[in-house]
């Protein structure tokens, strides 16, 4: 098994074991979205209008939940020291960890989104568009969050700093994710315009995230 596959499968295994937190994100997502209709009241038109925004906000917060443990757990038990002594480039190791994180927190959101969309009175077309924006946009949330997780690795209560560092950086993803979902529902701009920008943001974060996170980790371990 290659070192990267070893990291990927280890993180997946830990996530689905007791205390691993694979389902915490998606449960949090479901709870937040379910609470929204109760808070806003039974105004179906309003729910439909703000539905994509609610779902995107909930997805953003849910993907941040387990992120602070991404490197901190490995740092506390000494695994990170050994990982730095491996022959696999740290950038790729970091990307493998991010992939494992996305598979256990991002992917469940995408599966849950169509079901939960019913609660917000979204029609089929809107749900399809929303799932598509989630599929493209949630990796960007993970890979941007990766940088914050690496910077906060040595801090005891890193989760708070992580949220403050990462949330502002995710604003473009949020804007174009919601814009694409809205465009598919009501227009006036075509779906493709904001969606293409969302794709570009994700591609950029896939490149920048691992390099920035690896650099931050090397600095932190000094």
């Amino acid at each position: 098994m290659s070192p990267l596959a070893a990291i990927l499968f280890r993180d997946l295994r830990i996530a689905v074991r007791v205390g691993g937190g694979a389902l915490i994100g998606v449960l949090f997502f479901l709870v937040v979205v379910t609470l929204t209709p109760f808070a806003l009241g039974p105004d179906i038109a309003l729910l439909q209008r703000i539905g994509p925004a609610i779902l995107w906000l909930a997805a953003l917060l849910a993907s941040l939940l387990a992120l602070d443990r991404l490197f901190a757990a490995d740092h506390q038990d000494g695994s990170l020291d050994l990982i730095l002594m491996g022959r696999a480039p740290l950038e790729l190791v970091v990307a493998a960890k991010a992939l494992a994180h996305w598979l256990t927190t991002g992917l469940p959101l995408i599966i849950a989104a169509p079901l939960i969309g019913l609660l917000l009175n979204l029609d089929g077309r809107a749900e399809a568009a929303l799932v598509l924006t989630f599929l493209v946009g949630t990796p960007a949330l993970t890979f941007i969050g990766l940088i914050g997780a690496a910077i906060a690795v040595t801090l005891r209560r890193g989760g708070l700093l992580l949220a403050v560092l990462v949330l502002p950086l995710t604003v473009p993803v949020l804007i174009f994710g919601v814009a694409a979902a809205n465009a598919a529902m009501v227009g006036p701009v075509p779906f493709g315009t904001p969606f293409t920008i969302l794709c570009a943001l994700t591609l950029a974060s896939l490149v920048v995230g691992p390099f920035a996170a690896a650099a931050a980790l090397r600095q932190e371990m000094e």
Binding site: P3, A6, R13, L82, L84, G86
Partner: protein, 211 residues
């Protein structure tokens, strides 16, 4: 293979931990690093691992793989065991073996060597401190790397396990390996060099290893 340091200095948080450190360690040789708390024993090991920058001087490995860094040719056994409590004994070892070498590593023999083969399916959370340490030692046996960096390797081990560790270290040295061990106790190796970090004016090798 020869690991040598010339006028090595280490700085942590702006404070000089040690300076003017020189030593030379060849294949088949071991070195015990001694010094009071805070003298820089662990820092020296982490410097060889490549985790701490060399503030001054030179640290070089002759005869190693020129494509790899020093840390990539070394094993580290530290205070922390780098084990995941939710994974089983076998899964923990198989992960590190897979991470450190591309080839399919055999984990049965190393586990048997440290006496944990019957616990292979037990989650690591149920292991005692000594068993966790033995599982970490199995990692050193599962993947071959020429340099062993040990930080208080015998802590938490019982007498029998310390004896076993001594055997593993002797076998490693006989196979041409190098060992650097930070310890307050006895290393259990004859003819090991002894490096004292709290010697003034500069750290020095007080015993050169020749019997």
């Amino acid at each position: 293979m020869r690991l040598s340091a010339t006028d090595l200095a280490c700085r942590r948080g702006g404070r000089e931990v040690f300076a003017g450190l020189s030593f030379s360690l060849a294949s088949g040789e071991a070195m015990a690093i001694r010094g009071r708390n805070g003298a820089g024993k662990s820092s020296l090991l982490r410097m060889v691992m490549g985790l701490i920058r060399v503030a001054a001087g030179r640290l070089a490995l002759e005869g190693g793989d020129p494509e790899m860094t020093l840390g990539e040719q070394a094993h580290y056994l530290g205070h922390q065991d780098a084990l995941k409590p939710s994974l089983s004994v076998g899964e923990n070892l198989r992960f590190w073996a897979g991470f450190f070498s591309a080839a399919e590593a055999d984990i049965g023999a190393p586990l048997a060597a440290v006496g944990l083969e019957e616990l292979i399916d037990l989650p690591a959370t149920y292991l005692s401190a000594g068993q966790r340490r033995r599982l970490s030692i199995a990692r050193l046996l599962a993947v071959k790397r020429p340099i062993w960096l040990l930080d208080e390797p015998a802590s938490t081990l019982d007498a029998a396990a310390q004896e076993k560790l001594g055997e593993f270290m002797r076998a490693h040295l006989a196979g041409g390996g190098l060992i650097m061990a930070a310890t307050h106790g006895v290393l259990g190796l004859d003819g090991a060099q002894e490096l004292r970090l709290d010697q003034s004016p500069s750290p020095q090798v007080v015993k050169d290893g020749s019997p």
